[in-house]
């Protein structure tokens, strides 16, 4: 790779994650403390060694390799060892695996991810037992039917392995989808490519006709939201929750529209639609959800999972978490 290529290629550490050289004073209990922006970074040209055949198989051949012990005949996927420790370190042999299997157990769904994965939430990471294998292959799981909820995959759910169109020789070159979501012609297609799938993009759901109960709940919600915005002004925890964040949110309910405007530690609220294009649209037919959220009876995250709340952009879960924190932060600071 030339220096020019190096400058133009996508970076191992995304540019936006890299903070400036800076320091600041933090005051606590009347004392000043100095803190500085730092990083612990090391670059690698890391060999995949004995795993190269597996990852090259994914990347170049769209094949999944396992290993079989010639003595106990156990097949293990991925091929994570050269020798079988159960058979006095007998040399394993490579075998090609089918691209269908079942979930080893119910996979966890992550809603609050680490900093490298925040734009991918919600995502699932499970393990698939490919036909004939003893061990389970770690893999991301997806649905083609909208937001991933915990009720789509269970232990034993039949799944199909799908190959990414662009593959890099990484575990993320493949993912699993429920076999039942695929038409018969795709169930039997091997290899199945990401571009073969129809990832339906759910359209914005319509808001229902308002009832008197909706209107009353809307009035309560607007009042509570205005109190919440005022509470942020006097809550260091809440301001910290919203620090450095800017989002214009349009919240539609059957009782009426709302706008939430987050600007670096502050929250402004109004009882109408936003003036400009919103970064995030949230739709809950019943405005009582907002009341329940601010009264600690329902988390917005959980409302999305249960289908009571629709959001326009999955990666804006990060904003939803910030909103979810506010009532508790204000409550704690008031105490």
């Amino acid at each position: 790779m030339t220096k020019k290529d190096n400058r133009e290629a996508p970076k191992v550490i995304p540019e936006h994650m890299n903070p400036p050289i800076a320091s600041e004073i933090v005051r606590r209990d009347g004392e000043d403390y100095l803190q500085t922006n730092e990083a612990m970074f090391t670059f690698y040209k890391r060999t995949k060694g004995e795993f190269s055949r597996y990852f090259l198989g994914l990347r170049d051949e769209m094949k999944i390799h396992g290993i079989r012990c010639p003595k106990c005949r156990a097949i293990r996927v991925p091929p994570f060892e050269l020798m079988c420790p159960d058979c006095e370190f007998a040399e394993m042999e490579y075998v090609e695996m089918p691209d269908q299997g079942v979930m080893n157990s119910t996979p966890p769904i992550t809603y609050f991810a680490h900093s490298l994965f925040q734009s991918f939430v919600p995502f699932g990471r499970g393990r698939v037992v490919l036909e004939g294998a003893e061990t389970a292959l770690p893999i991301q799981v997806y649905t083609t039917k909208g937001i991933l909820t915990p009720f789509i995959f269970k232990r034993g759910t039949p799944v199909k392995i799908v190959f990414r169109d662009e593959r890099l020789g990484k575990p993320t070159d493949i993912f699993a989808v429920p076999l039942s979501e695929l038409p018969a012609r795709l169930q039997s297609k091997s290899p199945l490519l990401e571009s073969d799938l129809d990832f339906s993009k759910p359209a914005e759901p319509p808001v229902g006709k308002p009832t008197e109960a909706h209107r009353a709940a809307y009035r309560s919600a607007l009042g509570l939201l205005q109190e919440l915005a005022k509470g942020v002004e006097s809550s260091p925890r809440a301001q910290h929750n919203l620090a450095g964040w800017k989002r214009l949110i349009s919240w539609k309910t059957a009782g009426g529209n709302l706008t939430l405007d987050i600007t670096d530690g502050q929250l402004a609220v109004s009882g109408d639609a936003p003036k400009g294009p919103a970064d995030l649209v949230m739709i809950s037919d019943d405005p009582q959800l907002l009341v329940d959220w601010m009264s600690f009876k329902e988390a917005l995250t959980n409302a999305i999972i249960s289908g009571k709340l629709w959001i326009s952009v999955n990666r804006e879960f990060t904003t939803v978490f910030k909103l979810d924190r506010l009532p508790r932060s204000i409550h704690r600071d008031r105490k």
Partner: protein, 401 residues
């Protein structure tokens, strides 16, 4: 093997972020207070075992080296242990063997960790970067790039348990345990969340972080330090006579690390629906200590509650309730006030705090405190860690005279 006793213990306050102290300062605070508790001079200590989990948290690849001189151990042996969440318990196991073998007479265990110096400049918060830092602990060839985190790893195990036992781990029971631990943390002046009020209803309604884990039913990230002083029988008795505090004997020790790859047979791979590391380590510790029925013989348990639902399964693995019926911990009043066993009187890692390298030291500090103050005969302490609850360590404690 020689008998080993705990004769001193101290922890610093657990905080979400210690701006006022580095891990150097926290370490000195814990060691000073531990030696004061034991009423001995640092000159009388033969060596130290450090429990520090993650280099990245400390921004140093040999994070213990600058501590050695400042905790008074210059020219004495010092060894760092790092074993995921079970780091503190494994550090104690190392110190135990140093003394039981006859090599040394008194050894410090110092567990210390930072976490929230880590900062995500995109969300402008600490937590996503803390989770990322822990994320480097997962398998780096096959799993890390899939989004592996400590939470989703333990969730995977808990969900598999729920596949086997769908009627156990009811949401209202986990929420009730969260409320109980919150109340117990008020008895711990060093607890990170001792001023917080979390009711079962609040826990029930808190948001999912990783399904099925909710925000108020999982441990917090903490910074802090804890120190313990271990001594041989003769030395422990002498120190105890001087300090006026009874020795707490370590009468049983067990440890187990499972396979990290999932498969149907726990003897060959990781069976996802159980925590065999907890089961095996507890059984080994019981066998060594002569414990036949833990529910009848052990009065206080300080276990590593990374997640409330994992606490329940771990109590099942320990034999206090049946696997598949761990809701009995609350439904039959086993761990509720006035119940048969005191579980995590410190508030546990959920409300007390979780400074990873020293969390199990905190648990031991608490168990010892309860055994001395309440006159309890037997205690059990525990550490779990690594991916899918792979590591487990248990120690049975017995109050001396």
């Amino acid at each position: 093997m020689r008998r080993v006793g705990i004769v001193g213990a101290a922890i610093t306050p657990c905080k979400g972020h210690w701006i006022e102290r580095t891990y150097y300062g926290l370490s000195q605070m814990a060691v000073r207070d531990c030696l004061k508790d034991a009423a001995v001079s640092v000159k009388d200590v033969d060596g130290v075992v450090y429990g520090i989990y993650n280099d990245i948290f400390e921004l140093a690849a040999i994070p213990e080296h600058p501590l050695h001189g400042i905790v008074g151990m210059a020219n004495k042996p010092g060894m760092r242990v790092t074993n995921g969440g079970a780091t503190g318990a494994y550090a104690m196991l190392a110190a135990y063997t140093w003394i039981a073998s006859g090599l040394y007479d008194s050894v410090l265990v110092l567990g210390v960790e930072r976490a929230t110096d880590c900062f995500d400049f995109e969300s402008m918060t600490e937590t996503p970067e803390v989770i990322k830092t822990i994320g480097w602990s997962g398998d780096t060839f096959f799993e890390r790039e899939l989004g592996w985190t400590a939470s989703d790893s333990y969730a995977e195990m808990v969900l598999a348990y729920m596949d086997d036992h769908p009627s156990d781990l009811k949401p209202q029971i986990s929420a009730k345990i969260a409320e109980l631990l919150c109340q117990q943390a008020k008895n711990n002046p060093y607890a990170q969340r001792c001023d917080e009020l979390v009711t079962a209803e609040m826990a029930m309604n808190s948001r999912y972080v990783v399904y099925p884990f909710k925000l108020l039913e999982m441990c917090v990230y903490s910074e802090g330090a804890g120190a313990l002083l271990f001594a041989s029988e003769e030395k422990a008795k002498a120190i105890s006579r001087n300090s006026g505090k009874p020795p707490i004997w370590i009468t049983g020790v067990g440890a187990s690390n499972e396979h990290s790859v999932a498969g149907p047979d726990y003897r060959r791979h990781k069976y996802m629906g159980r925590i065999w590391s907890d089961h095996i380590s507890a059984q080994k510790a019981y066998e060594m200590a002569g414990i036949k029925n833990p529910l009848d013989e052990i009065q206080v348990v300080e276990l590593h509650d990374a997640f409330i639902k994992q606490l329940q399964i771990t109590m099942g693995e320990f034999g206090f309730v049946e696997i598949g019926r761990t809701d009995a911990l609350v439904e039959e009043g086993i761990m509720t006030p006035g119940g048969r066993v005191l579980v995590n009187p410190s508030g546990g890692l959920t409300f007390g705090g979780h400074f990873v390298g020293g969390s199990n030291v905190m648990s031991t500090w608490s168990a010892r405190r309860e055994m001395i103050n309440r006159g309890l005969k037997h205690g059990l302490i525990h550490g779990t860690g690594s991916t899918v609850a792979q590591y487990g360590v248990c120690m049975v404690l017995e109050r001396g005279e």
